[in-house]
Subunit: 221 residues, 2 copies
DNA sequence: ACCTGAACACCGTTCAAGT
DNA sequence: ACCTGAACACCGTTCAAGT
């Protein structure tokens, strides 16, 4: 009986969390561009201007959405036997989490909030780096380098599925006239790399170059 | 006498290239957000709708701008003694070119045109990879991995100067409560990495893992 | 062929006004 | 304290009309 309260004048029951959740599902379902103050308001059955009272303007809304989504991402468990493996595992969590809800990631990226989006997972990575003996400025730089590469692969993946199949990113290059380019290379450029495995090998290389191999594993035996 | 033609009715002398150049300098000087059909038109001393006749709608305008700017970037010479060094040199050219005109890069990124922006330099990298003996799918994957990392560093650099000094990206992490985080790491997170040198070491690692060391240099002696 | 102004359908945001 | 409608200042885009 009370599952549908009138949602009219005088306390429509608009809690900020409800606004954020509806906004997030709206973005995930209909894309980042669908997020409009008017559209979100109609989704909530409320006047457009009510949103301003509860969550502020559009920038504040998006910031709160990204922070909230980032908290969910950090709930995943970090698996791995050595600190080095767990650093790589956190990198994979950022990558997989970003691609699982691409539209939210796209929204965060468009507003320069990618670092806020991955904030908690980056903190987790900092802890794993510490476990591996990487602290201070080395930890800061390692974190920065790893997350930069992860972010680059994420936007590469987002670009791939944004374009229609006939002129994907790869073929942008393939359509160029080639002065002496190997035909095998030229035809390969018309196809897409398998990004997940490319991500894995590349980030393992980067992580391995920044994080020392696990010594304590033997030290305790 | 004829240096300032009336620029009125009946052929105002609007050539597409002029439109693109004005649009590019507008973006570089006043930022990507300043690029508006109305604003650009007033900059050209022309009605807003004239732009549509010459360069099409906004998306076509931006695409042409990015392509044009990308051509300029590819004019820089590629220096280096070995193919491996030249691959890294091209990566540096993409990085430096993107940061030299950050607002254009931001515009390209916002419209998913980063790959178009770096198109010619990526083709140059493909040639250097071929010189190093990397062809076919290996070349495609190497190109993809390298440009992904380069792109990640670029957006990281763009984020850094977008934020005011008091809450830069780094301190986003530093402001978190730290459950057992090393104090040296915590305070280091409040400072910024030196991105150019971090870019250099990281990309050298990635390139070295994908491009075999130069053998022909000795082979010819 | 080229350029214009008016008009349309959107935005985000403010604010006085209601209860 | 919470919610509303009207209004403002912007957008991109279309199109009939001019020369």
């Amino acid at each position: 009986m009370d599952e549908t309260r009138p949602r009219t004048n005088r306390h429509a029951g608009l809690e900020p969390d409800e606004v954020l959740d509806r906004a997030l599902t709206l973005v995930e379902v209909e894309g980042a561009d669908a997020l409009t103050m008017r559209r979100l308001a109609s989704e909530l059955g409320v006047a457009t201007t009510s949103i301003y009272w509860h969550v502020g303007n559009r920038e504040q809304l998006v910031t709160a959405m990204v922070r909230r989504h980032g908290l969910r991402l950090a709930e995943a468990p970090i698996v791995g036997d050595t600190p080095r493996q767990r650093v790589l595992a956190v990198a994979r969590l950022i990558w997989e989490g970003a691609l699982a809800d691409r539209e939210v990631t796209r929204l965060a990226s468009a507003h320069g909030l990618s670092s806020l989006h991955a904030q908690r997972l980056e903190l987790a990575m900092a802890r794993e780096l510490q476990e591996a003996g990487v602290v201070g400025e080395s930890a800061r730089d390692a974190l920065r380098a790893i997350t930069a590469c992860v972010g680059g692969f994420i936007i590469a993946a987002l670009l791939d599925d944004a374009l229609p199949t006939d002129h994907r990113r790869s073929s942008v290059l393939a359509h160029l006239e080639d002065p002496g380019l190997d035909p095998a290379t030229h035809s390969a450029l018309a196809t897409n790399s398998h990004l997940p495995s490319l991500f894995d090998t590349t980030l393992r290389t980067v992580v391995d170059s920044l994080v020392p191999a696990d010594l304590s594993a033997n030290a305790y035996l």
